[in-house]
């Protein structure tokens, strides 16, 4: 039983343990591996950085709890940047199961980021029909946002002063694990020329990059890496950065497994011939 036979006989649960640890351990420690900022993310940061104080921005958290690991850190990192820039942020969701997480971003902006309720940030809750909502904002936000999630009427919300539609809304950010950013792009950008940014899971990002290249999106945050890059830009490294460390280590271990497995396979075949 030379080394290769023994290697070929490693029990499955041992492999599970190794990959489990390679994902789990990086979460415990606070260290940052090098991470370059790619253009699609840098352009989002630069765009928000150049917005004058008090500009209005829509943050649409169109994701449900099951894609939380990749999308929620994006929303929080973007919210932190916009709070620091003293922008006026309107938070809503077009996903039926998105209300809870959108509310969490709202509460964090008030408690941790010093945004003043209904002056710097407004929470508007869930809107069932995405197309009608996006088009409605293009006409007049007064007809769409009649009151905030807590029932405070449109007119007594200072954050809405002087804002009628996309002409006064400098940016619409849609974060989602589904195709909602595409709906924002098709109608908000396509019909009203609004600036749109997409924050999507890695799987969805591949489909949206062609629209970034044709400038229909200002920029795109893709998967855990996109979130980690933005956390690095606003230097508030959090879940996404730790997540990137886990992904890097786990991918490395996965590649080692493939190489090791192939070596054991070929060595054994040569021995048998």
């Amino acid at each position: 039983m030379n080394i290769w036979d023994r290697l070929a006989k490693i029990p499955r649960s041992f492999i599970f343990l190794i990959i489990g640890l390679s994902v789990f351990l990086p979460l415990l420690f606070k260290f940052t591996l090098p991470l370059n900022i790619l253009k699609p993310v840098q352009e989002v940061y630069d765009f928000i950085e150049n917005l004058p104080e008090g500009s209005s921005v829509i943050l649409s958290c169109d994701y449900s709890p099951d894609v939380l690991p990749e999308t929620h850190p994006m929303a929080i990192a973007l919210a932190r940047h916009m709070a620091r820039k003293k922008l006026r942020v309107y938070i809503l969701t077009l996903h039926p199961a998105g209300t809870g997480l959108a509310l969490d971003v709202y509460n964090r902006m008030i408690k941790e980021m010093g945004a003043r309720e209904r002056k710097d940030v407004v929470f508007l809750g869930y809107f069932p029909s995405s197309t009608a909502t996006i088009l409605g904002i293009g006409e007049n936000i007064r007809n769409v946002f009649k009151a905030d999630y807590f029932g405070v009427p449109f007119d007594s919300i200072p954050a809405f002063e002087g804002v009628k539609n996309y002409n006064e809304i400098r940016l619409a950010i849609s974060i989602s694990g589904a195709a909602l950013p595409e709906v924002w792009m098709t109608y908000a950008n396509g019909r009203y020329g609004a600036n749109v940014v997409a924050g999507v899971t890695a799987v969805m990002a591949a489909q949206l990059y062609p629209y970034y290249r044709s400038k229909q999106f200002i920029g795109i945050l893709g998967g855990m890496r996109g979130a980690a890059e933005y956390e690095k830009l606003v230097n508030a490294q959090n879940l996404a950065t730790k997540g990137m460390n886990s992904i890097s280590l786990a991918n490395f271990v996965m590649i080692l497994f493939v190489i090791l497995g192939n070596i054991a396979y070929f060595m054994q075949r040569r021995k048998r011939r």
């Binding site: 709890p65 099951d66 990137m244 497994f257 493939v258 497995g261």
Partner: protein, 203 residues
Amino acid sequence: MKRQIPILIVFLVGLLGFLQYFVTGPISKGIYNTWLEWFQGVQGMAIIMAIISLTKRHWTNVRKGKNTIYSLITLFSLYGMMSLGLFIGIEKGSLFDKLYEYVMVPLNATTFSLLAFYMASAAYRAFKARSMEAILLLLSAFVLMIGLTSFGDMISKNLPYFAQWVLDVPNLAAQRGIVLGVALGVIATSLKIMLGIERSWLE
């Protein structure tokens, strides 16, 4: 009666659904919206079929005393959750919503996250460079798996851009070629169903 009328329904409903695209005016808008509304309504009611077959299967288990406790758990959670949603409501903060967030989501996410473990074990035990095709596949996968992580940044500044390029160009061409073929297959199936040639769904 059992076969002719369903095939007639499929043909007429399908034909009208297809032709309305090519006619402008209120008539075509009317057909499109009505078809879409009725489709969503009837499809919603199709869940009845799924729930009936699920109940039938687990109820026979209970009656035959096979796997009873587990089948009872399925039946109880099925009708419990449904009646909560139907009679008490599905809004934010309702018990139904809490069960969704604290029971269904973790079960779903954890079940799928098991795949990360199975992939690692498959990477070691099964992914062999048996053929030229498999070698190419593994190399392209490595480029992605290294390029888009911190190791990619360590190796060289433009490795992430190369990984992105592999996604944007060769991968896009391959996916497009496959999508063209699959789309032709899907359309052929739809046409055969509408024309009553494909009848396997009638059994």
